[in-house]
Symmetry: D2
């Protein structure tokens, strides 16, 4: 039941009210508003880049903005990952069984994609 | 006059019609529509991420989308950089003088920011 | 006792023979020879780069080798990290208590350094 | 003849003494000793990592060293690239003709490999 929390697996039933309430305290869900705010800012950066291209601004300045936006995205990813590990992974490990192994493999693949992108 | 083209420096006068026409053939400006399309798609990815967080989707799946978006951004940056070098930098070098040195330094710093972000 | 294994913490007593034997099955230690082989190959790449510079080879070719070496290093890092998570982190989580939190924080910081380098 | 300098192309004849002397002033060749020193230090880092694995040190500490080594390698790459652009690329552009285009394409591909590694 503990593993049933929102955000910690792909197919949450999660209709149970108690579980939902509990879920608010785990994973990135507990900081949902913060992540939404950061992603809205990133969306704004994407619009800002379009404006720069539209106005034919200097390409080096556009590249500087692309780097800033990439850093903001990476920072979101690192935050999500830390919360994933400290909640979903730790919980799966505490519960025992093969679930932890699956979570580690998934997290490792996600990290590899981040490092290589 | 050749260096006066849009996108190749920070302070374009660029009001001259001939220069504007010519500019269409140089730098990223010639592929402006392509870049705008890609940046609109990236903006859409930022909105998609907000939806995923809103719906409390699985964090690993969100991370996969963040990696895809980062790759799309990097690809835009690499394209802009190549066009900057093949037009602005090559042109400054052909014109001779200290302008080329400045362009190389700027480009190097932009590359360092990309590599480290 | 389980947490006392080699490679999973900074200050291992680890003199106990039983613990040492057990340690062979955990973390990167179990694949020590594989990691040593990969690191020796990376050391060879560093020497190869010196030879290329010594012989004044084409800089683009040197850069290609630097990228290959960076990828090899990253691959070692990703392997170490996966084994760290699947052994040290999972074990700390299973044991309960604040140790897991510390391990997650350490791992997150290591991941951030990898992503940003 | 100017383009014939060492380090600026793959197939240097470069036997001519005058050209060789001149080459000392261009590209990374002029800072050859500095690059060799940095690469020797990187080779030392690769040996240090082997020692850490040999001694079964804490994996997080090994990862910290891997990140430091990756940064050192990237810094070498960025230096080589800047010198390549400021000498080989600028020179090819000044000479005119299709050589500059080839150099830009090569440099762009090298940058893409660096950004993605």
């Amino acid at each position: 039941m503990l593993l049933q929390q929102t955000g910690c697996s792909r197919d949450d039933g999660g209709d149970d009210v108690d579980t939902m309430e509990q879920a608010q305290e785990y994973g990135y869900i507990g900081r949902k508003e913060d992540y939404l705010k950061r992603l809205r800012r990133i969306e704004g950066q994407a619009r800002g880049l379009q404006r720069m291209v539209e106005e034919e601004q200097y390409c080096i300045d556009i590249l500087t903005q692309v780097s800033a936006m990439t850093k903001a995205l990476q920072s979101v990813a690192l935050g999500l990952l830390e919360e994933h590990m400290s909640h979903c992974l730790v919980q799966a490990a505490a519960a025992g069984g093969p679930a932890a192994e699956v979570k580690v493999k998934e997290a490792s693949e996600a990290i590899a994609r981040l490092v290589r992108s």
